[in-house]
Structures are given as C-alpha cells and as structure tokens.
Symmetry: C2
C-alpha cells in the first residue's frame, strides 16, 4: 500500500477525507496539530477517529503559534454564534487563523518527503465553508505547485499531489459519502467553542453547518450538544 | 516605518538580509527557529546579530520537527566535510532538511499577516548555495504566489512580497554588500557542525563557501575556527 499523509483535525471533514484515502488504497499516516486551539478536545476526537479507521500511524505535532495571534480560535476573543448563512458568506470570520493551512501543509509536505509519501490529503471545502482563503481550490493548487518546487523529491522527478476531495461538496454530500465509507461521526468534534466536557455549542458557524448537513440527510447528528 | 518579517538564522546570509531590510527603511521583526538543529549555537548568533542591528523585535520559535527527520542537520548523521566545489554542485546534500524553508516561510507569513507586515525577507541564494531546492528563484516566487492566495490580507487586496535579495549574489558579493551596510560578521555562525564551544569546523560545505567568500574579498573571516 502506498503511504499518504492525511491532515486529521478530528472534525467531520477530515474524518471523511481519511476514509476516502483508505478507500483509495492508501496506508493513512494521519497528523494532527496542538496549536493552542480553544477546541483542543478535537485532538481526542482525532485519536478516536484514527483508531476507528485503523490508520497506519497518527502523530500529534506541537505548534508554537505564539507569534501568530489574532484568531478567535486561539485567542480570548468571542466565537461568533447564531449567524445566518448570509452573514457567514459576507466576510472572512474572526475564526480565521492566519496562514494555518499553509503551516499545516508545509509540515505535511516535510513528513511526506521523509515517509516516501507523495500524496497529501486535506479536508478543505469551498462550498459550505466559512470563507477562509486557505480553503479555496486556487490555494490548494498553488500549494501543490510549491510542493513540487520546494522538495528534493520534487526536483528529482517525483510528483506530490495534494488531494482535497471535499473541495466542491456540500456538508450534506460529505456526510452522505462518509456514512457510505463507514465513518462514525459520533467520534468527531466540529465545534469551535465546545464545553470543557466536550459538548458542542450548536451555534457557532461550524456547528450550524454541521447540523444543517445532517438535517439535509434526515439523519440525527450522533454527537452531544449543550442543552 | 513599515514592518517587515526577516527570517534570521544567525548565519552570514540572513544577517546581511536583515541589514538590507533595515537599509530599505523597514522596521525589522526577526524570527528564528529552534528546530533541533545540531548547530543550535546559531540561535545565540541570531540574538547577537539582532541586537547589533537594532531590530524592532526578535522571536525564537520552537518547531516540533520530530515527524520530519532524514537530515544531517537534525539527525545523528555525519555532516559531509572537505567536499570540492564540484562535489557540492552534483547533488542535493544530506544537510537538506525536508520542507524547512516552506515551513519557515509559512510561519513568517502568519506572523506577517497579524503584524500588518506585507514584506518577508529571507536569505536564500541560488549561486554559491549547496543545491537545496527551496533556495531557488522558482521556489521563492511560488511561495509569494501562495502567500497572496492563502491569506485574508491577500484576498482583501494587500500584496505580500517575498524578498530574497541575495538570490543571485555570490558569497563574495554578499560579504562585500554586508560590510558596506555595517554587518559585523564576527557575530554570525555558519557552520553545520560547530564545536560545543562554538568554533566552526572549517570543512563543511557551509564553512568552505564562507571562507572562500572572505578570501575573494581579501578579508579575514572574523569568526573562530577549530584548529
């Protein structure tokens, strides 16, 4: 089996992506990051998902993002709650973490190169997303181009591919696909502002998109929400 | 003064780049990385250089590169010594650290975005270099392109510029330029395999390129070498 590096946050999207990589015949080497996120419970979710999917390896990398602040996901700022779909589409929200996906992919690339993996999977999606610039198709292809110029493997003729199989799927599509691949969404965590006990808030952008996706599939979301 | 982020390793090249950024009127915000390099004495050099140049700030970021091994700069592999210029030009050496400059630049980009800096300086050079893929002009421009797609600032119309002012200079040119800008090369450290007391080995690729650069300027290299 060819190895692939999968960015696994513990959320719904990346769990689905890991299952897709497995379906496509890759040995999944998952990496997650402890970067000071307020929703650090997602790392426990990543560990559960990795175990359920039977990945080849799972590493949690410590990221020192002290120099990079300014996001409601890492700083003591309020996570927006109860926003309408229209409001979500209007501007890049305060939960944007500067250069986060660039940093995550750069790590994944280094790990790929030393693992003889030429495939990197990530769960960005450009439809039901929250307006993050580093979740767009042009970002993904720019990174792929960079990867092939940045590395010894790329220069020596190997070709890195950055797979973003959810890019044009809606949240409802993603959930349908994941269920068909055996993903247990009860193990995942999507909330930006969960209770210390892990219950999702149900009102941040991420919870709302998730809940709507399950609703459109007429399936109950198996995770626990705060009352 | 406009802020700029400068990747400062403590070596000769990045010290020169910091002086160039200062000459060009930028407030220099320097960042260095503690990534498990065997030549960690370069961080003390970075601190000395930052102080001498009077930078606006200097941060040392801890990088967890445990997942990424395979380089003589981070692992217990022998640093090549006494190679001829021909040998250096033949292949990417074992001192190449997978995706290192991509990771460094990704951090710099995040830090730039939150600091309202739109300029990033790095000291890569493609002539007298050791064959690293992520020191080539095509790498630098691919990263610049990525930076403008990856960020909120880029999407909102700001333009990030990645400056690599040493790209086409020889080591001798770099030293000449740096001396004219008041760089004190006695504070810098270039060796890949220094003694614990800081003396440079004089025989690794980096030492050889440096010594030749001073020789071509008919100036003595002010740092200490092992006898």
């Amino acid at each position: 089996m060819r190895p692939a590096i999968v960015l696994l946050s513990g959320g719904l999207d990346s769990a689905t992506v890991a299952a897709i990589a497995r379906r496509d015949g890759f040995a999944v080497h998952a990496i997650s990051f402890r970067y000071g996120q307020r929703h650090v419970v997602e790392l426990a979710a990543a560990t559960r998902v990795a175990r359920q999917l039977g990945v080849a390896s799972h590493r949690i990398i410590d990221l020192d993002l002290r120099a990079i602040s300014g996001s409601a996901l890492t700083d003591d700022l309020d996570v927006p709650k109860g926003r309408s779909a229209y409001e979500m589409s209007q501007a890049i929200p305060i939960t944007y973490v500067p250069a986060r996906n660039t940093i995550f992919l750069a790590y994944a690339l280094g790990f790929a190169e030393v693992s003889a993996a030429r495939d990197i999977f990530l769960g960005v999606n450009a439809l039901d997303y929250s307006g993050y610039p580093d979740c767009r198709p042009e970002f993904v292809s720019a990174f792929e181009q960079l990867a092939n110029l940045a590395t010894k493997a790329g220069v020596e003729g190997s070709r890195f591919t950055v797979h973003a199989p959810l890019l044009t799927l809606s949240k409802a599509d993603i959930i349908r696909l994941g269920m068909s691949l055996g993903v247990d969404y009860g193990l995942t965590s999507s909330c930006y502002d969960p209770a210390p006990t892990g219950e999702a808030c149900g009102r941040c952008d991420s919870c709302q998109l998730r809940l709507r996706g399950f609703e459109q599939n007429q399936v109950a979301d198996p995770i626990r929400y705060a009352a």
